[in-house]
Amino acid sequence: MTKLMNHRLNRRAVLGAGVAGAGILAMPSILRAQDRSIKVGVYGGYFKDSFDKNIFPEFTKATGIAVESVAEPTGEAWLVQLEQAARAGQAPADLSMMSQTSTLKGQSTELWTPLDPAKVKNYDDLLPQFVAKYPDGRVAGIGAVAWYITLVTNTEAYPEAPDSWAALWDPANKDKLGLLALVSNSFLLEVTAKTFMGGTDALDTEEGQLKAFEKLAEVKPNVRLWYRDEAQFEQALKSGEIPMGQYYHDVTGLAAADGHPVRSTFPKEGGIQDSGNWVLSKASDKVEEAHVFIDYMSQPEIQGLMSRKVGTAPTLKKGVLDLSDEEFAAVSSEIDPIIPRYDLYTSKSDWLNQKWTELIVG
């Protein structure tokens, strides 16, 4: 079912390339003759298909609000479109699914209408990382979807599961790793900081960042493949060609369920948790509907439904969920996750990118 998750990055590559207009031009896929409606931007491809099929019809049934879903490109093209449209008083979508970095960038221009926590019943059950706040405490966005990147291994090459990210640094693993190729999607600086420097706070200063780069450089001889395209690594992991690396937890679980000799491990330092928020454009006048939508999406039953049908990690505390232990383990873990330092990717993205490229290419 979440097999298509494989295409997360492919899709980003394709859509980001220049179909910036696709979001606006995309035809509404569900539009019924209800009085109330809301336009919701969802990452095009896998997420939009799953939401259209499993989530939005249920929402309309429950609330009477029609959802017009709009395919948005991932990456920053959608943020730029929302920004420009808002200047003209237009909202190509009322609510949008927005990456954490783009949420922060939108905050800098007050693009997001602050949300009212009182209108979200389960607000207090949300995990803290799923509430994006303006510096003054107003709520800018609430968690929409989340997923984990974990330490994955081929079970034939590694009969014992590694228990720490430090395995990436082990000289015994020379030329055996597959890692994501970009600073902003591999989050390896955060992994380095959490594993060896006491936590991601160590990246607060440039000195700390340089130290992390230095430590990360020691991984290089172990890396066989720096991948942008998931299919490339997944295939090599299954065959044992590249027996260890970082990969998506849910997709690896599905591959294992299909009988492939692979496993996903949450290291003791935690899996990397990446996510997107629901944000409301300031040009939208559907403030009421947007709150109804976010309230609906943040219910334990709906989070459970999403975990089962879409493969996302729940945004709520485990205690309130109706997921069985097995269902929960398929998408998440209670080990404290490594949460990427999204703030760095807004303020220092070019510098980090340059250092990173020099590190792995040089």
């Binding site: 980003r12 590559a13 980001g16 390339a17 990456g75 920053e76 093209a77 943020l79 730029v80 920004e83 960038k105 800098s108 221009t109 190729a181 970009l182 902003s184 999607n185 066989r224 493949l225 720096w226 942008r228 395209d229 490339q232 090599a236 065959s239 044992g240 060609e241 807004t346 303020s347 220092k348 993205s349 070019d350 990118n353 340059q354 490229t357 020099e358 792995i360 290419v361 040089g362």
Partner: protein
């Protein structure tokens, strides 16, 4: 055919269509790229129209110089290997029967229908330890245990030569087919061995074709960005790979545009230099 200089505007009419195509599909996009390369990058947003040279300044570093140098070297090697392999092959092809020629050309054309993605993944399987060609060598008793032949420079070069070879043959084929067979016969009558006649008569007679083919394959190989990623290590990534990273993953259009403009200028300069050197030699000969 009667030729006279065009007098009225109407006489230029046949040129309108190609001119419009050239403007729409080359001049406009390329100008846009040049313009964007001077725009100001905004890390927290996208870019704003401006006139800054920061994007070019960032490119002018030892690091990017190294990547550019590698990209050019790789493209030149691909061009050289392609022509070295394709020229004798095409010559032998033109000497064979019509039926054999047709079959070969159909095979080459069908290779062209493969996308870069398919070629990349096919070679990565062929070069892999678990399913690759070394398993055949092990089965034949020539090797002790299967080995991975990728990632590495050899794998990148092989993939790119494989991809460009059909083009090379198809560009060389018309010129070789039209080559006057009496040239070879005359050389043989005068006592040259077949290899000697080939190198001393056929190759010089087609020098311009060979240079044009080299340039075409060079330009073709310079734009490759998928095969170096699939078959190579990061140090084998071409400038095109880094341009893609900037444009798609970093949303840094101005910097990507500046790198692309630079790449185009350098390759134009190299092509110009080749033609200049070729022309001078012709004049002195």
């Amino acid at each position: 055919m009667r030729r006279e200089p065009p007098r009225a505007i109407g006489d230029y009419a046949p040129l309108f269509f190609p001119a419009v195509m050239l403007v729409v599909f080359f001049v406009v996009p390329f100008s846009t790229m040049i313009a964007v390369s001077f725009f100001k990058r905004d890390q927290a947003g996208f870019y704003t129209p401006d006139f800054v040279t920061a994007n070019y300044e960032r490119f002018l570093s030892a690091f990017f110089g190294g990547v550019l140098g590698f990209s050019l070297m790789l493209a030149i090697m691909v061009a050289a290997v392609c022509v070295l392999v394709a020229f004798p092959f095409t010559y032998l092809l033109t000497q064979s029967s019509r039926r054999v020629q047709t079959i070969w050309l159909v095979v080459l054309l069908s290779v062209l229908s493969l996308s870069e993605v398919i070629i990349g993944f096919a070679w990565s399987t062929l070069f892999s330890r678990t399913a690759g060609i070394t398993n055949l060598l092990v089965a034949a008793g020539l090797m002790a245990e299967p080995q991975a032949l990728l990632p590495g420079f050899g794998a990148v070069l092989t993939g790119m030569v494989y991809q460009a070879l059909p083009y090379t043959v198809l560009v060389l084929y018309p010129a070789l087919v039209r080559l006057d067979p009496t040239l070879m016969e005359a050389a043989r009558t005068l006592g040259a061995s077949p290899p000697r006649a080939f190198f001393n008569v056929i190759v010089p007679a087609l020098r311009n074709t060979i240079v044009a083919t080299l340039i075409m394959v060079f330009v073709f190989a310079l734009g490759s960005y998928l095969l170096p990623q699939i078959l190579g290590r990061p140090q084998h990534w071409t400038l095109s790979v880094l341009i893609t990273d900037q444009a798609i993953y970093q949303s840094n259009m101005p910097f990507a545009a500046a790198m692309a403009v630079f790449l185009v200028l350098i390759s134009l300069a190299l092509v110009g230099l080749t033609l200049l050197v070729g022309g001078r030699r012709e004049a002195s000969a």
